[in-house]
């Protein structure tokens, strides 16, 4: 819609050029004509335009004169003069308050509502009536995020946070706008602390608002003699969101990140967090909070000190009372244990004495028993020897004597018997009885036939008598034997 109006305006302009051949117009006629044509095309109409502010000037009457440009790849694609009339400026300033300065800044991009104005003398201008703050904020946010991302990628984001924070921040390098309410609040708060802590503040004066603030703060940061301070505090009073933009400045944040002292910040906004807040080691919402922090730290340190002291004293007392207890115990042991020791020893001695008596009696009893056994054995053995062995031997001998004697006599008796029998058989009577006879001559038994002669008278004896006979014949045997 808006662009179609402009198209129409251009068409009229071209038509004029074609129709007015050789006609010479007065300038005013032309400008009037332009004015009329513009009036027709844009009169009373408003357009939302996105542009960059390439120049910004304010007049004494309270008007602002700007140049709006459109850049693309470093090339200026369009440029136009613009103005904010003082009346509208007042409206905008009261509406935007602190943010006004943030939005209308040389170099910043804005989306603003404009009317097209043409003045025969001053020419063509865009009259800025209103501005789209949300666009600016969006842009700021984008820049803020880019800044954070850059700091993160460069490893700067947590540098200051990683610095060791002394437990006591007693020497403070304060970067702020002196004389501001924030400054007064801060210093008074520190001075009037109820604990009587002494905090020495050295102020480094900077502007905390406006386009220069970031650079000034950065300059102050770099100029501090770090050895003389425990921490740096950057504070300012409350402000709008757009006011914070200075604290999103990359260079400032980088300087803060690289600062060798921990930085306390009290620049905050109720809702938004500046990049500086993200970079510093000790971010706080307000200057008072910073002051409270410093005092709290001191107080907590002091409490810790006292706690430590108490603990030391407690430990010391414990230590002493423990040793006292041990000594007391030792004493009671010393008092008691020799008695029990002696008692025990005495018991041992008593036991040994008893055992001595018992063992001795046992030894004697044992000896007596052994002796008794031996005596008994001797008695038994000596008696046995007689009764059983010797007596038996003699008895046996005695029996043998009888047996041998009888045997001997029987033998002899038998011998005699045999002899007697033999003799009996040899008796002459026995021979005669069996038929043998004895012939005798002159009383002598005839044993040889040669002793005989015929006619000899011989007497023959038989078992039951004898007879006489005369030899009539002698027959002589041929004797082989002789």
């Amino acid at each position: 819609m808006k662009f179609s109006t402009i198209d129409k305006f251009v068409a009229i302009f071209v038509a004029m050029e074609v129709e007015s051949k050789k006609n010479v117009y007065r300038l005013s006629q032309i400008t009037k004509s332009i004015h009329r044509a513009l009036e027709v095309a844009t009169g009373g109409k408003h357009y939302w335009v996105k542009a960059e502010i390439s120049q910004w000037k304010t007049s004494q009457k309270g008007h602002a004169y700007l140049e709006l440009v459109e850049m693309q790849g470093g090339q200026k694609m369009a440029a136009i003069q613009a103005v904010i009339w003082s009346m509208e400026m007042q409206v905008l300033q009261s509406k935007l308050k602190g943010d006004f300065g943030q939005i209308f800044n040389q170099g910043s991009e804005i989306v603003c509502m404009v009317g097209v104005e043409y003045h025969p003398v001053f020419g063509l201008k865009l009259r800025i009536i209103d501005v789209d703050i949300s666009f600016t904020l969006g842009e700021l946010e984008k820049r803020r995020r880019a800044c954070i991302e850059r700091l993160r990628s460069e490893g700067l984001l947590s540098l200051n946070r990683q610095l060791p924070v002394p437990r006591i921040l007693q020497r403070i390098a304060l970067i702020t706008a002196p004389g501001s309410a924030a400054y007064t609040d801060f210093t008074k708060h520190l001075e009037a602390n109820e604990f009587g802590y002494s905090i020495r503040v050295t102020t480094f004066s900077v502007r905390v608002q406006g386009v220069q603030s970031a650079a000034e703060i950065r300059q102050a940061l770099l100029s501090i003699n770090y050895d003389q301070f425990d921490a740096i505090a950057i504070i300012r009073g409350g402000g709008s969101t757009l006011d914070l933009d200075g604290f999103n400045d990359y260079e400032l944040c980088k300087a803060a990140a690289l600062c060798p002292l921990p930085i306390l910040s009290g620049i905050g906004h109720e809702t938004d967090l500046s990049v500086l807040d993200m970079v510093v080691g000790l971010p706080h919402k307000t200057p008072t909070a910073v002051a409270d922090y410093i005092i709290d730290q001191m107080q907590s340190f002091e409490i810790d000190l006292l706690g430590m002291l108490n603990a030391i004293l407690r430990q010391s007392k414990n230590r002493l009372s423990r040793d006292l207890l041990i000594l007391e115990n030792s004493l009671s042991v010393i008092k008691r244990s020799p008695a029990s020791f002696v008692h025990r020893q005495r018991g041992d001695l008593h036991n040994i004495s008893g055992k001595l008596a018992r063992l001795t009696v046992e030894k004697l009893q044992r000896s007596r028993q052994v002796l008794k056994d031996l005596s008994g054995d001797i008695a038994l053995n000596s008696k046995q020897k007689l009764a059983q062995r010797e007596s038996q031997k003699i008895h046996e001998l005695q029996e043998l004597l009888i047996i041998y004697t009888q045997h001997r006599m029987q033998g002899i008796s038998q011998q005699l018997e045999n002899l007697q029998q033999t003799i009996k058989l040899l008796r002459p009577e026995k021979l005669l009885a069996r038929g043998f006879s004895i012939s005798r001559i002159q009383g002598k038994a005839i044993r040889d036939v040669r002793d005989l002669q015929s006619g000899d008278e011989i007497e023959t004896e038989l078992f039951n008598g004898n007879f006489r006979s005369v030899i009539t014949q002698i027959h002589k045997k041929n004797n082989n034997d002789e």
């Binding site: 006591i168 009587g196 802590y197 002494s198 340190f301 430990q315 010391s316």
Partner: protein, 67 residues
Amino acid sequence: MSENTTPSYDQAFAELQQIMQALQNDEISVDELAAKVQRASELIILCNTRLRDTEKKVSEIIDELGL
């Protein structure tokens, strides 16, 4: 503690903690105990003084303490 090297708060605190730790670990003998408590006391006085007064005043006190 030599006069020219007053310990920092953190050093003082660390020293106190050491004493405390040593006490807790029974590493301090009774022979040393009083001296250690004395030292702890001095450190605390020193910190207290420093927290509230100027370094100059602290120096004066330290001188008076004869440390």
